[in-house]
């Protein structure tokens, strides 16, 4: 009973924070220093935002990026699928911007699945999802060296439970920045 309640609360909280995915707006919070998409910043040494000063300190940048709300850091997937849905395109784009403007910044893509099926095969599915995000980032100009992927399969659920609500929140790739 308690557990169901806490899950419900968590869900409500998440939904409230995230808002309806369909209504998601691309609103960069002021803390995250990102470049406007489309800039041909090959050298990537300039940044118009105030957080450009954090350029040299990749760790600090990572920390600040990681402190972003979940909506910026997690991409969800449909069952048995590793295609990035349109609604998460922006996350990919922002991430690509973060990385291209901070070459010493690294991004770990952690793939996850829901708890159905066999564990080792789920590792593969999680990895496949992480790889999908990686490819998307590479397409957007991110350097290979800045990206790594790992998969937890069904080992690290975000939400425990055996129903679609839990499952849908576990089929995800988490973006974890690091120096």
């Amino acid at each position: 009973m308690m557990r169901t309640l806490s899950i419900a609360l968590l869900l409500v909280g998440t939904v409230m924070l995230a808002g309806c995915p369909k209504k998601h707006n691309v609103n960069e919070p002021p803390v995250a220093g990102t470049q406007v998409p489309g800039d041909s910043s090959a050298s990537g040494s300039e940044s118009p935002s105030t957080s450009a000063s954090a350029l040299g300190d990749a760790a600090a940048v990572a920390r600040s990026l990681n402190a972003a709300p979940l909506s910026k850091k997690i991409i969800y997937f449909d069952f048995d699928k590793s295609e990035i849905k349109q609604e998460y395109a922006d996350i990919v784009t922002s991430a690509a911007r973060n990385l291209t403007s901070n070459p010493s910044l690294k991004l770990k893509l952690e793939g996850n699945t829901d708890n159905r099926g066999t564990r080792e095969y789920n590792i593969g599915l999680g990895e496949r999802r992480a790889q999908a995000v990686r490819r998307a980032l590479l397409l957007q100009g991110v350097a290979e060296s800045q990206l790594s992927t790992t998969s937890f399969g069904s080992e690290r659920p975000a939400v425990e439970g055996d129903d679609e609500s839990a499952w849908s929140q576990n089929r995800r790739v988490e973006l974890v920045y690091g120096p």
Binding site: R116, G117, T150
Partner: protein, 434 residues
Amino acid sequence: MKKHCTLALLALTLWGVNCRAEFVVEVTRGQTQAIPIAIVPFSSSDVSAASFDVAQMINDDLARSGRFKTMDVKDMIEQPHAGADIAFDDWRRLNDDYIVVGSLQMVSADHYIITYELYNVLTRQRLLGFQINANRPGLRLASHQIADAVFEKILGIRGAFSTRIAYISALGHVPNKTYELVIADADGENPRVVTQSKEPLMSPAWSPDGSKLAYVSFEDRLSTIYVQNIKSGERQRVSAHAGVNQAPAWSPDGRKLALTLSSRDGNLDVYILDLDTQALTRITDDPGIDTEPQWSKDGLSLYFTSDRAGGPQIYKIGVKPGDKPRRLTFQGSYNARPRISPDESQMSFVTQEEGGYRIATMDLRGHGDVQVLTKGPADVSPSYAPNGAVIIYAARDHGRGVLALVSADGHVQQRLVASEGELQEPAWAPFPAN
């Protein structure tokens, strides 16, 4: 026949031979019911001996196997302790087929003697009669060994009651879960933590001699394969490549591990690692997910899961370079995680049907007949007992991860529930090498 009879009659008139054809009754079916057996409480030499109930342990083991229907102590009209005291007609009247009687004697604080006998009540024949010497901590193992002996004598299959299992126990809740790799007796008693971590532990695998466990640890948030010596606790990191290091499987000679590694583009494939030379041999190379390898008994092939055809299916490939994989499963869209029975007569795996995941078996010697053993909805991680007669697997019971048993023919089902935590990924140890 009749003509012969008549001729024979004429020829053998003096002998009066009855030439009727021999009377034969055809038996084409039987019952798959449990064999009725009575384990009579053993006599004990004193209070100390009385505090350990040998008969109850034997009773529980045999009952848990599902192959025996054990008699309630309260239904026993008498309690003999030796063969000479058994009134067979009485036990026959109780519809009992077999009986075990015995005694537990304390010789000193550290020396006990268990005496036991097994009788066939129908033929009144004594089938077993032994004495076992044990110290106090050894009484559990001795009782399991008696259950093994009775099981094997009657069923002709070696008992696995005195073996061990390993499993992962996950305690707490996200994000503060802790994970333990645990070894316990086959009945779940005597659990001992082998290693623990704040990050997930996966895929425990017993070395063929039962002295080591290989497993996957995410302790640095990266998957790494370790091999740990159970007695000493010493462990060795054997695979820490970039990306995925998963699904370790020991070769029959214990010198190699088949495992799953990812290439740079994240594609999972099966490899073989030579533990002595550290040489790595690639076995599969295709864009699909190839994982969950298991060795054949002769060490010349690997069974594995691959979704190269769309959904996961089970394949078999020779370890020699250039061998092409052969698909084994064709029923349904999801067949994964093969485990091979010790005599390689049968393969157990996870199959998905009607939205649920179930344990199934495939006959490897005949026509590949598939039998679905369990009802799901989330039955995974099958592992064979070393006698091939029963499979332990992970199931979910009211939102909790539990372990369960099913006989290899699907007739018997049991649940093993833990006192706390979620139990997953059981692995049954091989018979002790002796």
